[in-house]
Amino acid sequence: MDTDFREIINKRVVLFDGGMGSMLIAAGLGEGEIPEQWNLERPDRIIAIHAAYLQAGAEVIQTNTFGATGLKLGASAAGKKLDPAGVNEAAARLVREALEGEGAEDRFVAGDMGPCGELFSPMGRLTPAMARDTFREQARALERGGVDLFLIETMYDLREAVEALRAVREVSDKPAVVELTFDLKSRGYFTLVGDTPRKAAAVLEAEGADMIGANCTLTSDKMIGLVSEFRDNTGLPLLFQPNAGHPEMENGRAVYRQPPGDFAGDTARMIEAGANAVGGCCGTDPRFIRAIRDYLDGRK
């Protein structure tokens, strides 16, 4: 990669990609199958999804490794059969292949890291060392697969996010982005365990994150206020990836009905509020990324 991601995010708004789950269902992911196994069993379909996001104008493509820590894979029947390192390394290579296939320049492979599925005390029995170990294994494999940056996302406990970030720092000096997931309560924005945007910004900045922000849980209209709150509390570059409304049942499938133009309109307001990078989470697909791309290109 010739261009440095750290430089780009300080110069212009960067577009990440959107949701993976509904794309996988549309591509035929069956019951009892987990998304991560397709990195090994259906690489062509994963590449096609990445390619669709590239064609829509996404500049950062996330690996299909949201649940690919050893801890989380070990919790499901399908996941138990997979080698965590192999899955992560393969997933990174698939994004690289998609990039090469599209001849796309100045695009980035983001090694995606989601929660490990265990909780810290008093809810669960996760220890900092357990979290660090499983994230280190994942980060090391993603690094070996050739990612350009790491994206730690959907974290509902700041402590777990910090362990993931430290694990990345142990194995790589590439950029590390951290997104927590917040809900909007009557008293403001909080993670599941009560972390505030202010606390998250202070801690993650001190831990050396290159970019921070939030994804999932909130729909695009409710994400705008969270952007402002983050911007009031940090000078770091900010990334936000909201959900596309809530799903409805149609022909036995979950479908999301928020119009992409509506989502892009909210995204424009997130950028005005201080977001340096944007994208989508659950329910978004390449149409949403295209709508944001059109908006970004139009304002140049």
Binding site: G19, G21, S22, L24, I25, L29, E31, G32, E33, I34, P35, K72, A75, S76, A77, G79, G117, L119, P122, M123, G124, K185, S186, R187, G188, F190, T191, L192, V193, G194, C216, T217, N243, H246, P247, E248, M249, G252, R253, A254, Y256, C282, G283
Partner: protein
Amino acid sequence: MIEHLKKCAQAVLEGDDRQAEKLARLTLDKDYPLLEVIDKGFVKGIREVGRLWEEGTLFLPELVMGAEAMKKAMAILQPALESGGHEQTKAGLVVIGTIEGDIHDIGKTLVATMLSANGFGILDLGADVPVQRFVDEAEGKKADCIAISALLTTTMPGQKKVIEELDRRSLRDRIKVIVGGAPCDEKWALDIGADGYAGDAVAAVALAGRVIGG
């Protein structure tokens, strides 16, 4: 006595399980009226925990600790309640689990804990639960309600399949179905023909009470 009730509520509110156990034993030693201590003491505490959770003053750790303190106290009071000839105040039996293909059981376990803390009988089937098993267990145990969690866009249609299976076995009018999980909402519950949706464990307690009672 009023002081004792306040202390019971406070122990749950503070998630102090040792204090809750101590107060439960004291209740028996002093022969305080059991139902009143439960209702105006411990239950009052867990309701306050729920209220503070909903407004964003308490969070998951406090909710879990409050529910645990409640369960510890009830484990001591329940046998006395039953041997004392009191009607066992079970609010209903709920079969709960996360749907097949989905291993996310944090929210589901929390809902189970809160339901149990609020007097519901609970059969927790865990995560990755097949449609047939939900219905088999609910039918076999004569459950009042099935609570199904789904956290993924890919797995949430399974909630509807449970309802279809209940229909097929002509059990739907006897067994209520409530749903939850990050991507679900009221509209989703309506779409798939469930009896209701709850956005968190506190709302789930109110919802279960409503659908079973109604």
